[in-house]
Subunit: 568 residues, 2 copies
């Protein structure tokens, strides 16, 4: 092996303090992030500024991203930005029978490097990605359809935070058992029994990351870095419409691994031809021992049932509920909820879908509001928030794909429309499909309506569901989470009794609850090192980002013990 | 709820120091156990001595163990000791549709008690069991067929150690996240965003423990206590031939729970009628969210494939290999191996089955030994160890069931017999079936022989497999672990190169390795707080006892967050 340009010693010196801060943040769950959220924070100390990031992104367009991977048997690509640009980037297509064995070749050295070195190599990868945040932001924007600022923050620092969190959890899990131990058991008057024991975290094999279209980096980094930090090689299979952000990630990872003296093939890309559908083939290969997946319930369930040789971590669909029972900050509630349903046109797994409102209305500090008033006021709040096209475009981004567009258009037929979806023009990107949210009134007790609101309607579609009482709302919440899953639950209430009932429902059904949010924090947002994303305990996801369970089964500990021999 | 006889405060005062010692032992992996191994250590400070334990056991025989469980619809039982005694104990048979809802009733209070209180209640249960170790020893002896001393140690202190280890892992996993956190995110010149967050470990639901015949307590306690300590109710479904030890465990647990002010129905027994086969029914009930199972590969695989609503932890069959390549302590090696194959008539999931010996022989400090000599000397060592009937009975115990007896008898037909199995009479229990181990010579390269040694032959049957070289032995070891799984691997070698190759094989295939054991530690034994039992990374088991992964997914953390409101 050639002398490494980056030594473990240097990397530890540079990144160990950050790792320790991450571990401390996870312990206290106080606010912490090493990755700046403001675009202007970049451009110095080796990081790309806005213009440089734009230039770097533009230079990628129409070109070939050659990752120098073994078994490359062609070039594929065909991403079209939801903003209308053809990216024109092509990526290596892999002969899997060549690539997978090549990925295994470097695993022994990666395993023997130990948990700390793996952690700091991962942090160096994240550092290089962070330096290119402006470039990544444009890659995320033009594959997911997120507006620039969201693509920048969620696709950049927040995704990097989630990756680092996974590295920190993986590190601390591996060092819970010492490398070696001396075990001496007294035997009364006889000599004690004495053993020397060595404990080595070993990887499961090759991990497969199946990326998603809407949050390629944010949803992809936890699994990628958790697997890599625990010694596994990682094969990245991006969504065909969102290849670029993960391909760039693979490029950075391969470069850093090589510079640190490891085999770059520990991380590789599996891009596919249109309609090739390689995920099923890859997921059931015997070499693949870990799978991380974000996407549809149907395919997530298929993976759990069929990829039996692997540990499978899935984030699937859910139906998110907000109970609106009472409030002492009616305007704050409305503007908070209006933002929640508008952000990225509701194309988040955490966006609220069903607003459960008592049909008798709700008490507020402005006096009682009828069900109709609440719904009309929410509609007005959304309208107000999105009344200015510049702000609307900055919040909504673009509709990610034709399926979402079709759902928005069909929503008006599902019930009485309280707020119609509007088309908005994006002057910078005239081909972008931009739509404001639609709000439809439904009756909680009607079977036909129930069939509508008990299914996930991914995109900017919300249902204002009239219910008989707070108790019915809580019961419906319970049933929704149990049967359909939920990534988030929200509730507005000034009643201790109702609050307690909602809390109990969420504790019983393992749903993450945001109570009475009226300010600048939204139910759809979670912060790494503090908030859990999903619970792993309801049908929406079988894992939470990030906790011990997310990392502990990605490696196993092998013990080698031998007798301590008496010295001659 | 009635005033509790045991307060959490008292239990914490009593057991917290032990919990802390357990946590420290798990961190250092040095020797530690709070449970004395010597039968004479009992009889004071409230624990039963030998005669009292015998009297307590005798008082159980022919009686009804009434656990006062809801939904009891009859009485079942029919255990016959492998030593020939009919136990005549009857147990409640449960109407599951009544019992399961009753088990859920107490879960909220158990959840709200928090991780520390749950841990110390579990430790109190273990303390009460420890006090009755002599009684439990006889219950284990007369269900598993283990000899008294082994039933005492493995069924008593070692099982209690494994239970406590699971409690300690469960505790520390739950307190990695604080109960509450204040999260304050700076917003430049604007007011910071501030949230109060509560984090609550919540149970998955009801856990099912499916017990085994040979080690009802040792293999049962880790899952039982890991699930209970993480807030789940636990339904114990014992093996029909080994009900008593787990029924007594359930009795103790129910009593302690009630005394501590919790619902005793958090732990319940599901005994079954002969041939009822309720495990499949229970395992697929929606209320059952966790399953711990020790037993056949066929049923373990069935559980993994069909109990999809549950987290399934299985210990199944494996084929354990010992490579005998060279040694500098030939006699020590032979006597160590002779003990390993004799202990409990080889009826351990950790007993070595295949001895791989180069056909050209092995170097030793006594000079070279041919393959035939090694096998003959091993046979002689076993004969010597078991030459005295009293000692033989004390080591072998009794054959647990007719299947094992049939396998021993059939073994002579599998190849050239190097050591024939002998019948031994147990003067105290004339009906006990006692057999010494059989050793059969096989050829590693012959397909017919391969079919024999590549299958688990549970019981006192070992194969001395002639191989062409050390390299072939290592390759065969790899293949055996990969295809059949292994709970243990042993190796004897003085060659650094061979040792390295064996180490690499075990690291690659996730197998636990004991090297050159020649003294009083045996490949089939592991010590809680220090050794891992299984790796969870090969087909023999999907979990290791005990590690973070064994506990981390038995609960989920629910976060409830709300805004910090400015003070009025």
């Amino acid at each position: 092996m050639a002398a490494a340009a980056l030594t473990a010693h240097e990397l530890i010196a540079e990144h160990r303090p950050t790792l320790d801060q991450a571990l401390e943040a996870m312990r206290t769950r106080a606010y912490w992030s090493p990755h700046p959220e403001h675009p202007k924070a970049y451009g110095e100390n080796g990081s790309l500024g806005m213009a440089e990031g734009k230039a770097a992104f533009d230079a990628l367009l129409g070109g070939r991203l050659d990752l120098d991977q073994p078994g490359t048997d062609g070039w594929v690509g065909g991403e079209v930005s939801p903003y209308g640009i053809e990216l024109g980037v092509t990526y290596p297509h892999a002969d899997i029978d060549t690539l997978l064995p090549a990925m295994r070749a470097g695993q022994r050295a990666w395993r023997d490097a130990g948990a700390e070195t793996r952690a700091v190599v991962c942090l160096e990868i994240l550092k290089r990605i962070s330096d290119r945040t402006h470039e990544f932001a444009l890659a995320v924007m033009h594959t997911s359809g997120q507006a620039f600022m969201m693509a920048f923050q969620a696709g950049g620092p927040h995704a990097q935070d989630r990756g680092m969190e996974a590295v920190a959890y993986a590190y601390v899990e591996q060092v819970r058992t010492p490398d070696t131990a001396e075990w001496t058991k007294p035997q009364g008057k006889r000599d004690p029994l004495a053993l020397t024991k060595q404990f080595t975290p070993v990887p499961r094999g090759i991990a497969l990351l199946i990326g998603c279209n809407t949050f390629p980096t944010w949803n992809g980094y936890p699994g990628l870095f958790a697997s890599l930090a625990t010694g596994n090689a990682v094969l990245v299979k991006p969504h065909p419409r969102a290849v670029l952000p993960l391909a760039l990630t693979v490029e950075v990872a391969r470069k850093v691994l090589a510079e640190a003296g490891f085999d770059p093939n520990l991380v590789a890309l599996a891009a596919e031809r249109p309609g090739e559908g390689i995920a099923k083939t890859l997921a059931t290969r015997p070499e693949i021992r870990i799978i991380d997946y974000t996407g549809s319930t149907a395919f997530g369930d298929w993976l759990e049932a069929n990829a039996r040789q692997a540990q499978v971590y899935t984030e699937k669909a859910g139906v998110n509920t907000v109970i609106v029972e009472s409030t002492d900050d009616y305007k704050g509630m409305l503007s908070n909820l209006a933002f929640s349903v508008s952000l990225y046109s509701g194309q988040m797994c955490t966006t609220p879908q069903n607003f459960l409102v008592p049909r008798a209305g709700i008490p507020t500090e402005e006096g009682p509001k009828s069900y109709d008033e609440v719904v009309a006021d929410l509609a007005r709040a959304v309208d107000g928030l999105l009344g200015d096209d510049v702000r609307a475009n900055a919040l909504l981004g673009a509709i990610v794909n034709p399926d979402v567009k079709a759902r928005v258009e069909a929503a008006a037929g599902l019930g009485e429309v309280a707020l119609a979806s509007r088309e908005i023009t994006n002057p910078d990107f005239p081909d972008a499909v931009v739509r404001t949210p639609v709000i439809v009134k439904l009756d909680g007790g009607k079977p036909d309506d129930q069939a509508v609101y008990m299914s996930e309607c991914f995109g900017p579609v919300s249902f204002a569901v009239a219910v008989d009482s707070a108790a019915e709302a809580v019961e419906l919440l319970r049933r929704t989470v149990r049967e359909k899953g939920a990534m988030t639950v929200g509730a507005y209430t000034t009643s201790e009794e109702v609050e307690e009932a909602v809390r109990e429902a969420c504790l019983d059904e393992a749903a993450q609850l945001s109570l009475n949010l009226t300010g600048g924090v939204y139910v759809n947002q979670t912060a790494a090192f503090s908030d859990f994303h999903g619970s792993g305990g309801n049908p929406a996801a079988n894992a939470a980002l990030c906790d011990g369970a997310f990392v502990a089964n990605r490696f196993r500990v092998v013990e080698i013990r031998s007798e301590v021999r008496a010295e001659a």
